[in-house]
Amino acid sequence: MNFDFSEEQYLLRDQAKRFLADRSTPAVVRAVLEDEAKPYDEDLWRGMAELGWLGTAIPEEYGGAGMSGEDLCVIAEELGRSLAPTPFSSSVYMATEALLMAGSDQQKQDYLPALAMGERIGCMAVSEGIGVTDAASINTRANEGVIEGAKVPVADGDVADFAVVLAAQGNSGDTSLFLVELNDDSVRREAVEMVDPTRSHVEMTFEGTAAELLGEPGEGWSITQAVFDRAAILMAFEQVGGAQACLDMAVDYAKNRFAFGRAIGSYQAIKHKLADIYVATELARANAYYGAWALATDAPDLATAAAAARVAASEAYNLAARENIQTHGGMGFTWEFDCHLYYRRAKLLSLALGGERKWKDRLVSQLEARNSSGEE
């Protein structure tokens, strides 16, 4: 047993840290925040492609680096820390994973090399509006290779070249996944501004758009769940990275801000607050590591690991982002200070992929299944 990242992965982390400290600065993030015409930072995205990050988990035969899900976790943590404003999660955690999981050899040949190079961007379109999203709630319909319906919100739908779309087909409750090219007149995309404007989203409407089946017909919901499970682990690493960044910011501020003649970090009210963030972050990190291991080995308890990692990381990041503002006092409430960038991202990440409540339910059902099968 060795529950640790490898030497190579430590090097990858250092490389990612340096690159992002240089290229995903607060100024870069703010440029995307404040410029409506700028959905993401293209230079940063190209740089990531040049480093081979976009194809990390894509096998070499499809133009990727052939590394493992663990390597992707290492990168994800640094992306979260730096608030990197790019479509990384949509293209890499979602579209790429869906193709790797369910694509035919031809589809992999067609899509993966361009995804690995960053020449094309993919996204995943599942949600359709208010209410619980599940197989029965999907109204977008696919018939004879053509798709009709509306998806909202779709992360990175404006910059994506294609989408992996969940649609109903045949009998009620039967869903399948489809690959849909988005640069077509039958696709309408309208920007939806989110709590975190550094990540772009749209409402996407299909009016008789050509759609190619991805995976077995009728398996749409189960593949989506499997993609979400894997994405949840990667997202958890982003959240852990973000929580750590908030903690670092708050500690730094608490050491340098004086009140009543002392650094505010010398008061127990602040010390204990920050210690609590540390505890929550380490707890989330331990769960995320469990997920990384499950991801790399395709462990049978991947769904349990994913749900635990997801819930713990959402709680940690939301706590860290909120208490970072509190530690900064009035300055934390200003547009000028960066606290709100993390507060926004923390909330968006915890609401994506079905939100915390769904993942808690999923954990409950996974634990029950595990318990009744007598495993430990």
């Binding site: 602040i270 204990h272 210690a275 505890v279 380490e282 707890l283 819930v311 430990e376």
Partner: protein, 394 residues
């Protein structure tokens, strides 16, 4: 990352399992099941200690030259995990975990030869004289005084929260030997027998109504200065050495997992059907998993850099709060049947029919007792101060 065990580790695990199967008696398992406090029934848990002692497995962290197991962190982890799963009774052995390592580091060869074998065999039972009525979290303010008189010290003062002082035959004690500006610099570390004239042990009954703690009074207790470990006034360093000795391989997560499994048994078919309650259990399960994988990380840190990383420091806070939450949820799951308090139904070998379901017979005692978890071995407030200072640099 790899969480699969090596062939050697698997062989070791099988050896542990075989030993447990052979030596852990029904009586011992029962004592564990009925344990509503920290240590299980004293006599029965001592029998388990003696079984381990005979096997040579009673001192996992001690080096082999002193009769210890010299287990790797992984082996310690495996042993503690298997022991928790099997339900071994928690025994009282501060000689092994606390004073033995200090003796190895600071005592003369003659003292080592005298004390260490008697600790391993269980012949000597040690209690700890640290806290005082006026010195809990602020331990360095302690006032029990040892005054040099010829070749002796004369000790006056009092120690409190002394677990099993009424059963121990020796005590290791922090005493003030000098008044200094930095209070840590005037403390010495002494070892002496409990039957010295002038020592009085007074029971303290805890929240559960049981006698585990004591207050110990010293009235002109005379001990030879040769019973001191380390230099005079350097006792704080000696005491701190202990904190460095235990390096990973503990398995709190396995203990938490056992309590969690019991909670699930209690809640099965009833409270678990309530989605809100199921979510509360899930919240605790996440912490149990985090504890488990933190333990793996600590072992990995030791393997890579020779010492545990900072992750180990939050285990006290998280572990104690998780255990408290489990006892609270167990009581919630049992509803009204958690309320009957029947200490007689928790005595091993009893014939009392519990009013609570059999699985929950110790639930209310644990609910009461677990308040101690966030207070003992450095209150959680002190732990947060330590994290803020040592990890966050505040």
């Amino acid at each position: 990352m790899d969480v699969n065990m090596s062939a050697e580790d698997t062989a070791f695990r099988d050896e542990v399992r075989a030993f447990l199967a052979e030596n852990l008696t029904d009586e011992m398992r029962e004592a564990n099941h009925l344990n509503g406090g920290f240590f299980a029934d004293y006599e029965i848990s001592r029998r388990w200690f003696l079984a381990l002692s005979q096997k040579g497995w009673v001192a996992p962290s001690w080096p082999a030259e002193y009769g210890g197991c010299a287990w790797t962190p992984m082996q310690k982890y495996i042993y503690s995990t298997e022991a928790a799963k099997a339900g071994t009774p928690h025994y009282f052995a501060l000689g092994i975990s606390m004073v033995g390592p200090v003796i190895m580091r600071y005592a003369t060869e003659a003292q080592k030869a005298h004390y260490l074998p008697r600790i391993l065999s269980g012949e000597d039972v040690w209690c700890q004289g640290y806290s005082e009525p006026g010195s809990g979290s602020d331990l360095a303010s302690l006032q029990t005084r040892a005054v040099a008189d010829g070749d002796d010290y004369v000790i006056n003062g009092s120690k409190i929260w002394t677990s099993n002082a009424h059963r121990a035959n020796h005590i290791f004690c922090l005493v003030r030997t000098k008044d200094t500006e930095r209070r840590q610099e005037g403390i010495s570390f002494l070892l002496f027998p409990m039957d010295c004239p002038g020592i009085t042990v007074k029971p303290i009954i805890n929240i559960v109504g049981e006698h585990g703690f004591n207050q110990v009074f010293f009235d002109d207790v005379r001990v030879p200065q040769s019973c001191r470990l380390g230099a005079e006034n350097d006792g704080w360093t000696v005491a701190k050495y202990l904190l460095e000795f235990e390096r990973g391989g503990s398995a709190h997560a396995a203990t938490v997992a056992a309590s969690l499994a019991q909670l699930r048994n209690v809640a099965a078919g009833d409270a678990l059907e309530d989605p809100l309650f199921a979510q509360k259990i899930a919240g605790v399960a996440i912490k149990q998993l985090a504890a488990e994988f933190t333990e793996h990380r600590v072992i990995a840190d030791i393997t890579r850099q020779g010492r545990p990383g900072p992750a180990s420091s939050f285990m006290k806070v998280m572990g104690s709060e998780t255990n408290q939450a489990i006892t609270e949820l167990t009581v919630e799951a049992l509803n009204y049947y958690a309320a009957p308090f029947q200490p007689e139904a928790r005595k091993p070998g009893n014939n009392v029919k519990p009013i609570a379901p059999e699985v929950g017979v110790a639930a209310v005692a644990k609910y009461l007792f677990l308040r101690a978890a966030s207070i003992y071995s450095g209150s959680n407030e002190i732990q947060r101060n330590i994290m803020a200072k040592q990890i966050l640099g505040l």
